[in-house]
């Protein structure tokens, strides 16, 4: 069911109330921006993609039945828009050792030389490395790794956002991890001894 306050807001938007549309935009903007930033295809303007997502939200608002929370419905629109944009990207350059910054190379060396968890000071750099590694994966693989392993979402959540079945999510996640392992292996082999 739609929350009562949200229901009233959506009804006002359907009645073409501009203030209500602005309120909804401001409420949903952080969620949409976060999703767009997570999946932002290269060479795509962040604002343009946010605008496209919001236009789809407003254009399809009549189809929102209220069976799922509005945030889930919006997330699905945002993720699908980003995936479609990513599909248009033909080239997914593989990450090379030389593409890594000094700090990233240091984290990779630490990763290979010790078996312990990485130091908290390396978290941001690790995130940058993972983002670069994900750039070489297909959009759907990228999405599933990001949702499951970086955002720590449950399989049910991923199902809600993507609309895929749970077995498909598991298979896709497994294959994506295999591909990431291969990329990591290749990077390690390029590492100067």
């Amino acid at each position: 069911m739609v929350e009562p306050s949200r229901g009233g807001l959506l009804e006002r938007i359907r009645q073409r109330d501009e203030d209500a549309a602005r309120t909804l935009f401001n409420e949903l903007h952080p969620l949409v921006l976060k999703l767009v930033r997570s999946y932002l295809p290269r060479r795509t303007s962040e604002e343009d993609l946010v605008q496209t997502v919001f236009m789809k939200i407003f254009a399809n608002l009549d189809q929102y039945s209220g069976k799922v929370p509005l945030e889930h419905w919006v997330s699905r629109i945002a993720v699908n828009t980003c995936l479609n944009q990513l599909k248009a990207e033909k080239v997914r350059p593989e990450l090379r050792w030389a593409d890594l910054s000094d700090e990233e190379q240091h984290v990779m060396e630490t990763l290979a030389s010790t078996g312990d968890d990485l130091d908290p000071s390396h978290e941001l750099t690790s995130r940058e490395i993972v983002d670069k590694l994900l750039g070489a994966l297909a959009p759907a693989d990228r999405l599933v790794v990001r949702l499951l392993h970086l955002e720590g979402r449950s399989l049910r959540d991923v199902q809600g956002v993507t609309g895929w079945g749970i077995p498909m999510i598991k298979v896709r996640a497994f294959r994506a991890r295999q591909k990431l392992k291969k990329h990591l292996e290749r990077l390690s082999m390029e590492r100067p001894m």
């Binding site: 401001n26 946010v50 236009m55 720590g152």
Partner: protein
């Protein structure tokens, strides 16, 4: 392979712990652009609303008329035309009877 798997797990774990970058407020220009686009979409919807409604109703009416015409034709064809039969019988009698 096991080593790489372990490395990947640790890398993902560390990356997942990274703090999320702060999200800034939406710019007013973006908000205005989206609202303007929403309003222009509404205007174009209004523009096409009446013709669309008219053609939709006209199509439904046309389908109804076609169905009535088909039913009427079927009814007419399924009933034997008594006049034609009578004329044919009369002509046969004239031809074959002495």
């Amino acid at each position: 392979v096991k080593d790489t798997k372990h490395q990947l797990t640790r890398l993902l774990k560390s990356a997942a712990s990274a703090p999320e970058p702060a999200l800034e407020e939406p710019s007013l220009s973006l908000e205005n652009r989206i609202i303007a686009q929403w309003r222009s979409a509404l205007v174009s919807d209004e523009l096409f609303e009446w013709p669309l409604l008219f053609f939709r109703r006209a199509f439904v009416c046309a389908c109804g008329i076609v169905l009535i015409a088909l039913a009427w034709s079927y009814h007419e064809l399924s009933e034997p035309p008594p006049t034609h039969v009578a004329v044919a019988e009369y002509e046969m009698q004239l031809t074959f009877l002495p």
